[in-house]
Amino acid sequence: MNDSALEIAADVRAGRRSARDVLEEHLAQIAAREADVHAFNLATADDARKRAEEIDAAVARGDDPGPLAGVPVALKDNLCTRGIPTTCSSRILEGWRPPYDATVVQRVRAAGAITVGKTNLDEFAMGSSTENSAFGPTRNPRDLSRVPGGSSGGSAAAVAAGFASIALGSDTGGSVRQPASLCGVVGVKPTYGAVSRYGLIAFASSLDQVGPFAGSVADAALLLEVIGGHDPCDSTSIAEPAPPLLADLERGVDGLRIGIVEELTDTEGIQPDVKAAVEAAASALADAGAKTERVSVASTMYGLSAYYLIAPAEASSNLARYDGVRYGLRVDGADVAEMNARTRDAGFGREVKRRIMLGTYALSAGYYDAYYGQAQRVRTLIIRDFERAYEQFDVLLSPTSPTVAFELGAKTADPLTMYLNDICTIPSNLAGHAAMSVPFGEALPAGAPSGTPALPIGVQVLAPARGEQVMFRVARAIEMASPGGSRT
């Protein structure tokens, strides 16, 4: 599919194409490949057709449906949609239909987008491969034997497979950027507070952020402009309107100072082709007038350890409410405590249970300071280190994921290996900063059998809080220099 959201919206608004036609093209893709890919927990074709007709009727009346007019969008299934099942890919939310829409869902709808379905994820967004779903894994559209990354693997795959033009995911430790990287699409983790979390089912509240998937940097900018900006329903939302991103997108990188983060690029476990891609992207930026240099941000090495205390700690509290009392699954017991325990035992998968236990332990009396407290101090250290780096640099570069997409089942036996997937993405979540992944070239997986297709590599652009404008300009320059050719 080569349809950008910008083009679709422009055509639909101008009456050159009908939203219904655009939708049918995407539904045809879904019909052709969804059985293999399994990007969706629920496809909402009927609702989508109705909505497309409304958009077309609006255009016919002379109304403007908005900047996403007729653009098919996929929503990660941890975003609340009124009256439409929202599962977090967990048995525990079985049967639950939210009575309200998430703020981001309201905003994309109000902008004229058409929801085509709710996408698969690692249960409660805990994972890096979308294999931890109660409803089965999603496969990478580029190679069905491989994972799409996670936790927003369904959204990444939906865009990569042309099931939707754009998609929304959530990024707690890399859950948008890493699957974007593995599926060869653009994925953004906005500054903490730039996008409302109201209606995003919480995993780790101080780290979660809703972010866009798109086929191009410009489409990602368009979608972020639509969903960003203050929301009075989210106390942690930045009290300012969303900054314009598209206007400056083509301004280039001349004079910008760009640092390559040593600790995230040179470490063990980074696939050499991936490292080479980051260096190639950097030299392309230098060619475009940027000043590039290597920089050490030492404390990022401790990001993973801090993250695996803070995120589970918050999760252990956020997921307490799934107790069988009010909604979702209930497994009866002799008394309320037994009902709680049985419900949670039956409703949560292994990874969720592992993290709840980890987090409960990290917060418990006598251990709080050594674990949660210490992790928060590391977090402060990372923020300070980044601040120092951003005194010298406008943005930073690193790989998004240490490797290209891996095979299904390759890392499920060893949680720690799986966790290492997010080593490059986690620091931005801990710091509350912006970061995004842009496709840049391809590589064969290490030790791949013959006949394996080359798989996409993602380069990560990291920016300070509220640094989205410059970050997008750099991402656009990388996109234009990409060996695979640029989308204009």
Binding site: C80, Y100, Y198, G199, D323, A337, L363
Partner: protein, 488 residues
């Protein structure tokens, strides 16, 4: 227990008072803060803790906390934070309570009661839970057939006011609560109705040998729903703990429940209550930092506090301490009395206070009303009618009762009933003379009576004749004086 015990042991008490703030909406959402409606009618995704919902702090609750801080001499740190108190309970929608822990909104204050200064450790904001109704079995969660939960109360703002262990007797504890209640009422933050649960008390009670300074092991007594329960529970605990120690046993630090019917405290230890609350900072809310403007606004709207008001009324009205306490402690009573005094044409403030303290209060208590329903100008008129002798005190009681019940002016009632007394000496003198003339025999017998008793009998007869002639409206005092003058 025995009198010896009471003398040998000193009780040490610290109180935790939970006060429901009378804001119009809940602490973290826009739902009405209303008592006693149909269950689950004031609920929304936020106060039901639905997945994806987020809290937004009600600024009015912060302002109310600041009002209490002014009244209780509490310090307001530049910033405070909310924390999550994690434990499972069906009436708590999120299975954690959003409360304040190590950085509360106010700290270090005091309240004087009868010349004793009780330190106040802190007063912090937190959300209330829902209300469980356990059906069948013993009516407790452990043995009920099933339980129902009303979440109307979930999320109602509470201010928990924690005293230092400065209280030394049950009576003093009661006085502390009375004074606190009057203060909270005066500053307008709560309706402080213990019977409706808008003021709830937990008491930390320990005993120690009189004259020692070290604290004993305390028990925390919960479920004290009235001042009477507080008095009884503290006395019971004092006796229980001192008896334990005298028997060579140890007091266990634990939570105990007051059993009103049994007149005893019961150990609340059970598996469910062996809590590790795993407090950690609430990531969904930002720190509370009251602005100077807000603090100034609070200061400029502080009313006179109960202690100052009592002192002023005692001084300027010449009333007793006890009367001043009743006027100030009963909601609305002092306001009513002061407005009546302001409207008073003839008579003293003390007369007004006496009527309010007795007849008015009795009337209100009988009907469960507050003084707000009464017109103070009517009382002022009544006092004037008594003072100028138009009606007697005895008549005034009836007139006041009718005035309050029918909302009628006392002068109109006097007119309708034809009650006005005749006090004019000239008019009364003529009647007295006529009666003495008509009863010359009796006058003679009076003058020649052998003893005082016989004389008084004749005088009473003559008095009766005069009053009969006046149809009971003669001012008895004036008639007596006239009669004495004529008969002497």
């Amino acid at each position: 227990m025995t009198a010896t015990t009471a003398r040998a042991w000193e009780t040490v008490i610290g109180l935790e008072v939970h006060c429901e703030l009378a804001t119009s909406s809940k602490l973290f959402c826009g739902c009405a803060n209303q008592f006693g409606d149909e269950p689950n009618t004031h609920v929304c995704p936020v106060c039901l803790g639905l997945p994806g919902s987020l809290p937004v702090l009600n600024e009015r609750a912060v302002e109310y906390a600041l009002r209490v801080a002014e009244a209780l001499h509490l310090r307001v740190p530049e910033r405070s934070i909310f924390s999550r108190k994690n434990y499972f309970y069906p009436d708590m929608p999120k299975d954690y309570q959003t409360s304040q822990y190590d950085e509360p909104i106010t700290i270090d204050g005091w309240l004087d009661i009868d010349g004793v200064r009780v330190g106040i450790t802190r007063a912090h904001l937190e959300e209330d839970t829902g209300k469980s109704l356990h059906v069948g079995g013993g009516g407790r969660i452990h043995d009920a057939d099933h339980s129902l939960v009303d979440y109307n109360r979930a999320g109602v703002p509470l201010l928990e006011i924690v005293s230092e262990p400065d209280i030394r007797s049950a009576e003093q504890a009661k006085r502390y609560v009375e004074e606190l209640r009057a203060t909270l009422l005066a500053v307008g933050v709560s309706d402080v109705k213990m019977e409706e649960g808008s003021l709830r008390i937990d008491a930390n009670v320990s005993v120690r040998p009189a004259g020692t300074t070290e604290f004993g092991t305390r028990a925390e007594i919960k479920n004290l729903n009235s001042l009477r329960s507080l008095l009884r529970a503290v006395d019971y605990e004092t006796a229980r703990q001192s008896a334990l120690i005298e028997a060579g046993e140890r007091v266990v630090q634990e939570t105990r429940h007051w059993d009103e019917d049994g007149g005893r405290t019961i150990s609340g230890r059970s598996k469910e209550e062996a809590h590790d609350y795993r407090y950690f900072p609430e990531p969904d809310l930002v720190p509370v930092a009251p602005t100077d403007e807000m603090r100034a606004r609070v200061r400029s709207t502080m009313p006179e506090l109960p202690a100052a008001r009592r002192a002023r009324l005692i001084e300027s009205w010449g009333i007793k301490d006890e009367d001043a306490r009743v006027l100030v402690d009963v909601p609305g009573l002092a306001d009513y009395a002061e407005r009546a005094v302001a409207a008073l044409k003839t008579g003293t403030a003390r007369d007004v206070a006496n009527w309010v303290r007795q007849d008015v209060l009795a009337y209100l208590n009988d009907r469960g009303l507050t003084a707000a329903v009464l017109a103070p100008e009517m009382l002022a008129e009544l006092v004037a009618l008594v003072t100028d002798g138009t009606i007697s005190r005895g008549q005034a009681k009836d007139v006041l009762a009718e005035s309050m019940a029918e909302e009628k002016w006392p002068r109109d009632i006097v007119g309708e009933r034809g009650l006005a007394q005749v006090s004019d000496a000239g008019e009364l003198g003529a009647v007295v003379d006529a009666v003495l003339d008509a009863n010359a025999a009796a006058v003679g017998e009076y003058r020649t009576a052998e003893d005082d008793k016989a004389r008084q009998k004749k005088r009473g007869f003559l008095m009766g004749q005069v009053m009969r002639e006046l149809k009971g409206k003669g001012n008895a005092q004036v008639v007596n004086e006239l009669l004495d003058a004529r008969l002497s």
